[in-house]
Symmetry: C3
Subunit: 310 residues, 3 copies
């Protein structure tokens, strides 16, 4: 009866575990064990609001019969007046809960938490521009469900690649476990994928390309992973304005669809702004809402594997 | 095994359904089925805080054995940085929950939500100056419980009738299903009931009167439905000041009670400010706290009829 | 089958009840009855955020199988626009819940609430500079667990004694039920313990001393109860700055430990700032995280004794 420990980083899993997460997630969808985590308590500890992610985790826990204690106001712990360190907060909360889902505003939060949680597993629900590993898992699960495999695919990541946690985590996963795909980074100049990821891909011999436009590659893509420009992470508004202008060319409209393969899928971590127009939603290739729902099954799988067994 | 669909508007129900809601609510009070909704999840999606309404719905769900995921911070979805449309948020949340209770800040929110919730029922918990149908149902249920009937009654609605969602929804219900009552609109000049409601009453041949003072009618009333002046909805403070002055005459004090029938009831959607003085609370005609509690039973009934059957 | 009523003030309990709370809390730790409060609902009504306290109560309720409805936003009830009195809010919420945990921003809130909750028990989770009786209970429980008795001990309370709710409540308890200890108040001049507590101790013939430095007494102490300077409660920043300077001498560092008895314990209600350095955490005398966890058991015990029996 092995149990999964903390979920901190995309790179932590071996391939067998990743595959196990996917088969477990598939079972969570087809036959959810509704009393499995009866009596267990999950703490949602969010240092910044991320209502969608929080509700997804909490629904996952409750669908398995578990209970939740929850705050989106955890920054109060470390407010000027109270000034508590993350480490202290984690040690206290680990006295109340069986698993802690942590959203932190600075890179490295989940790892710091895991070092002080006295054996209570931590699930990283995003730490600043760091990682968001459950998002990457649900992204891969979505691809796996659709194509039955994660190899030989042409995958484009489009948009704000410098600030996008999701595309970073996804790239790590692909490199380490599914290197036999081709990745296209498509972005404005100022939001190009960082070098650390490119080196990581090189290390694992993943074929990758970089471009400012996707017109030439659209017809070859199996997966178009679109992202929004994260305005809140730009310090200079001129750069943001320029990025936004260049991003317009990368938005997906109904007219874009004609260049894509019929069996391709369009993914997006959501929320979207204008980068996928509403007219696209009815096309069978629009896969982003199903992708969000897959997040529920992946999170159920992780909670099962952490609190029960696998 | 019919199920109720979304609850969007007071006008949507036929009379048989309304009566069914009342008999179910009565049963919820006398013998609550505590495990009925075991395994079901309700999402409380509040785009503006309304703690009282939210807690009432959540208590209702939990008294039936169901589970809740919850946010009063849903505006974060549509914040400047994230900018997601209500429709997208609803599509995502409908992947997590079996029913969504929605509080929205603009009229029409619940209807837009229902169009995109992929079959997951929506309950309107208030949309701007639009409707608040569960409040109207609990108001009527309160009258029915007290008098055993909703006809032949003299009902006064008092106070801020232009901004008051509750009196608007209540008027719709009365017109459509219980037209054989007499309605008195009692308000300052600037907060008179809008014409749309008056036309609706006329269409259903409901007798209605309008006045700025209730002294003449007090002794005839069966129901005095008092409301507060919704300061937060006035854009000009001069008008608010004038309304507040005129409202003073419409407040209910201990001395007001002597003019009322012994079997009359005083209702109020709460919160109250000065419009009912505390000295009135001990009078058996003070019915507003029981009215609030009736909300629990009505919401339990709706959740049962939506998620179970009726 | 007696039940505990509201928990408002440290002074309300007779000694038998206090001891009963401790034996029940010990049982909650060793063999928690996980379905005991199935079907019961606790309302967390927090007029100011206190995430740690709230999560502790909610975890306690859920570990007993009970359900929770919750807000940290209760001030919305009494916001300028809505302006509802605490009494009205309590009367409404008491219609939804079986027990109410109340955090209020002004002294006396819990007592006012209990007068209007129509038989629904209130648990005071802190009211301004008033009391925080469950904290005092968990503090005493921690001492009892460690020493097997609460007498013949030398107990120092250190830091901001004028604003510290916890040290006030603890002093009341000690005076009334466990007077055979010696208390040392150690604080900067401006944050000395108030006279009301000192008179109370005198009334019960408790030996107490006051000092600005703990060097002389360190070697005699069984319990060193450290507190943080509550910056947010100082209106003048000069006084705060002075207090902070003087507090530095009272902080506990690794070098402090050599002067303490090996079997002594260091307690702190948390959060801590600099008043206990992190290097102290690994010393077996560091007892503050276990103290926080004891809060869970004490709150489980209180909920059991209120909603079930004792």
């Amino acid at each position: 009866m092995r149990k999964l420990k903390s979920v901190i980083r995309a790179q932590q899993f071996d391939k067998r575990t990743v595959e196990r997460i996917f088969t477990t997630a598939a079972r969570m969808e087809s036959s959810p064990p509704s009393k499995l985590l009866d009596g267990k308590i999950m703490a949602s500890l969010f240092y910044e609001p991320s209502t969608r992610t929080r509700l997804s985790f909490e629904a996952a826990m409750k669908r398995l019969g578990g209970e939740v204690i929850s705050t989106e106001n955890a920054k109060e712990f470390s407010s000027k007046a109270k000034g508590e360190s993350l480490e202290d907060s984690i040690r206290v909360i680990s006295g109340y809960a069986d698993v802690i889902v942590l959203r932190y505003y600075k890179e490295g939060g989940a790892e710091r938490a895991a070092a002080f949680s006295e054996g209570v597993p931590i699930i990283n629900a995003g730490d600043g521009i760091g990682q968001h590993p459950t998002q990457a898992l649900l992204d891969l699960f979505t691809i796996k469900k659709k194509f039955g495999r994660i190899e030989g695919l042409e995958i484009a990541m489009v948009g704000d690649l410098v600030n996008g946690r999701t595309v970073r985590s996804l790239s790590y996963f692909l490199a380490k476990h599914y290197p036999k795909n081709t990745i296209h980074f498509v972005s404005p100049e100022a939001t190009r994928m960082r070098d650390d990821i490119k080196s990581y891909l090189d290390k694992y011999k993943v074929k990758w390309f970089e471009t400012k436009d996707f017109r030439e590659i659209l017809s070859r893509l199996d997966v178009l992973y679109q992202t929004r420009v994260q305005k809140e992470r730009f310090s200079k508004s001129e750069i943001f304005d320029q990025v936004e202008r260049e991003s317009k060319k990368l938005s997906i409209r109904k007219s874009t669809l004609q260049y894509m393969k019929p069996e391709a899928i369009i993914m997006h971590p959501l929320p979207r702004l204008g980068e996928i127009s509403y007219a696209v939603d009815k096309d069978p290739r629009a896969h982003y809402f199903q992708q969000a729902r897959n997040g529920l099954y992946v999170r159920m799988a992780l909670l099962k594997m952490i609190l029960d067994e696998y």
